[in-house]
């Protein structure tokens, strides 16, 4: 049987890839250290406190990773306006009916595994983009609650700007803390599903999904690429006419 004709498409620009891996690293560090802060390991030691700084280091790592996470996140929002079409904010926030149609289609094919022809997209598919939007919201929530908890002991103006956050939680830092801790598990569950689905696409579609976050290239069927280009030109026409 005849093979597919594939075209090499540069999908993820370098800043997007750097964002992705910095974000991944920050999330891993934040989850591990955050969990340890909530559940410190039991250490029986006869060493004097002056010779140890284990928990101080854990907290330092948490705060350092948090700052990396925040500024990286802010940069990604900026890149959502200046990046290429696969990085644009429109990939994440639904602005049209076709977006929702695509979400439903992807859900039926990839999640419910309905026997249909594969839905092949070039950048993010709509469902993935929409899920990333939710995880962006969760990230914003973590930044807000994290700074809200940190404001009380910080000397820098930036965290202090968030001193009002506990008032959203009935003025109780206890519940800010519990929420901050609970939402961490959302990131854990997200990571499991995200990594799995990347492998799923790599395995079923065979287009270099897994390696695309390394070099930025994906291998796209000629006709899919052309259809994508065509859709874009159509959208441009509609825009210029309007």
């Amino acid at each position: 049987m005849k093979g597919r004709t594939l075209r090499r498409v540069f999908v993820w620009e370098l800043p997007v890839r750097i964002f992705h891996w910095l974000n991944a690293l920050a999330i891993v560090v934040l989850c591990v250290t955050g969990y340890l802060i909530g559940n410190p390991p039991a250490l029986m030691s006869s060493v004097e406190a002056s010779n140890r700084y284990l928990f101080g280091i854990i907290r330092f790592l948490h705060l350092a990773a948090a700052y990396i996470f925040i500024f990286n996140f802010a940069f990604r929002i900026y890149w959502g306006f200046v990046g290429n079409k696969y990085a644009q904010w429109k990939n994440f926030i639904p602005t049209s009916r076709t977006y929702f149609k695509e979400i439903w289609k992807v859900f039926r094919i990839d999640i419910l595994l309905k026997p249909r022809t594969e839905h092949l997209s070039v950048g993010h598919n709509a469902l993935a983009g929409f899920m990333y939007f939710f995880i962006f919201l969760a990230s914003a929530f973590m930044v807000l609650t994290g700074f809200g908890l940190f404001a009380g002991m910080s000397t820098w103006w930036l965290p202090k700007l968030f001193a009002w956050v506990p008032s959203l939680f009935g003025d109780s830092e206890f519940s800010v803390r519990n929420w901050h801790h609970s939402v961490m598990w959302l990131f854990v569950v997200f990571t499991i599903i995200h990594v799995y689905l990347v492998m799923y696409h790599d395995y079923v579609e065979g287009r270099g999904e897994l390696s695309s976050m390394g070099g930025g290239w994906k291998f796209i069927e000629e006709e899919v690429f052309e259809a994508d280009q065509h859709a874009e030109q159509e959208a441009e026409k509609v825009k210029t006419r309007a």
Partner: protein, 408 residues
């Protein structure tokens, strides 16, 4: 005065503590009616305090308030020139531990100057009068010093029905508060009951115990929470009002910043053990003997703002953490409903008492892994044709590479 309120939640026992001592000059007879009220200093000298004692007191207060060196002079000047402040001190649903803390604060003059000399025009615990006579004094003070007096409230107010759970002299606590608040210059909420409802407001809160800031509008309210608040903190708050004639700087929740801007955790002498990762695992273990950090046995210091670690209690003798018990978090909103006392994490609503966020999270993560595994298996079944096709494609390509000519 409190005992007759049969319906009050906690039986309050009043001791005639000060009554014998103050027979001759109980606050009732204090000259509230004359326009020329004596200053604090005059009254103190009359009682036999030396000027040296007075200056010491001013210095101590300046230090507690965190004032600069000239602060002591400002305080002494204010106490020597300002006529004493009329004060009405109300007790509602509470245990009187705030009053107890106040009269036992470390510096003897604190109790004297405030309770004897601040012109406590009406205080159910400490005045000698009772019944109609006492009510008359309160009415008179409210009338004579309308817009001038400071209203101190100890205890929460029952906001249930007609307020029948807490009545004094036939009036509900809610009505008394509203009446007294109308002419007050400022209101001070003493203790957690008045500031966050404390134990009476804990779920299910049958009397609808309500902190005062939810009932009084349009009046400056200073919250001095704590169960009880530290006596020096109470004195310091009043001294600030007397000295500067203004409210002290308040934090987001309405507590004086001078005493509530630091977390108990950040001023804790056991903090190095926290930073070292050395924790008490249970109250009877070796780590407990060594005085390690109480974080894992539920210390709420990291979320609690108070000056326990700095001013301490009982003449600076000790405070809960120094005595080997974690902080309760008594100065914080929602006190008593902020999760278990001896655990760090609250139970997750709707999942049973023993379920904290981590247990739920681990179950969710486990479910995600299981779901993903099932999905992977299902993919191989459902998309078998597609996958086989792809593999065949690959094999064909391999053949072509080995044998380029076979393509044609």
């Amino acid at each position: 005065m409190l005992c007759p309120n049969g319906a009050i939640f906690f039986a309050l026992f009043k001791f005639g503590l000060f009554l014998t001592r103050k027979q001759n000059e109980n606050p009732m007879t204090a000259p509230t009616e004359t326009k020329t009220r004596p200053t604090y200093y005059e009254e103190l000298r009359e009682r036999g305090y030396s000027r040296r004692d007075f200056m010491k007191f001013c210095t101590v207060m300046a230090a507690y308030l965190g004032l600069e060196a000239s602060g002591a002079a400002q305080i002494s000047k204010a106490l020597m020139t300002t006529p004493r402040l009329p004060v009405i001190w109300l007790h509602f649903q509470e245990c009187t531990c705030c009053s107890e803390s106040f009269i036992r604060s470390s510096h003897p003059m604190v109790a004297d100057i405030i309770l004897d000399k601040i012109s406590l025009d009406y205080s159910e615990t400490l005045m000698a009068a009772s019944g109609h006579a006492a009510e008359a004094v309160m009415q008179k003070t409210m009338k004579d010093h309308y817009g001038e007096y400071v209203l101190c409230v100890e205890g929460s107010v029952s906001d249930y029905g007609d307020g029948e759970f807490c009545c004094i002299g036939g009036k509900s606590s809610r009505d008394i508060l509203k009446e007294a608040a109308a002419g007050a210059k400022a209101i001070i909420g003493w203790g957690s009951c008045a500031c966050n409802g404390c134990v009476q407001a804990a779920k299910p809160n049958p009397t609808h115990a309500t902190p005062i800031h939810k009932l009084v509008r349009g009046k400056p309210i200073i919250k001095v929470p704590g169960c009880p608040p530290i006596g020096e903190v109470m004195a310091g708050t009043l001294i600030h009002i007397i000295t500067f004639g203004t409210l002290p700087e308040l934090d987001r929740v309405g507590r004086p910043k001078a005493f509530y801007s630091k977390r108990v955790h950040d001023s804790c002498y056991r903090r190095p053990y926290y930073d070292a990762g050395l924790f008490v695992e249970s109250f009877d273990d070796e780590n407990s003997k060594k005085g390690y950090c109480l974080y894992k046995v539920g210390c709420k210091g990291p979320m609690t703002y108070n000056s326990c670690g700095v001013i301490k209690w009982n003449n600076g003798t000790s405070y809960p953490i120094q005595s080997g018990h974690g902080c309760f978090g008594c100065t914080e909103e929602n006190y008593w409903d902020n999760g278990p006392i001896y655990k760090q994490m609250a139970s997750f609503p709707g999942f049973g008492i023993e379920s904290n966020a981590d247990k739920i999270g681990m179950i969710a993560a486990g479910a995600a892994v299981a779901g993903v595994a099932v999905h992977a298996l299902a993919t191989n079944v459902q998309k078998m044709g597609l996958i086989k096709k792809a593999i065949q494609e690959g094999k064909d390509a391999e053949q072509e590479l080995k044998n380029p000519l076979s393509k044609s």
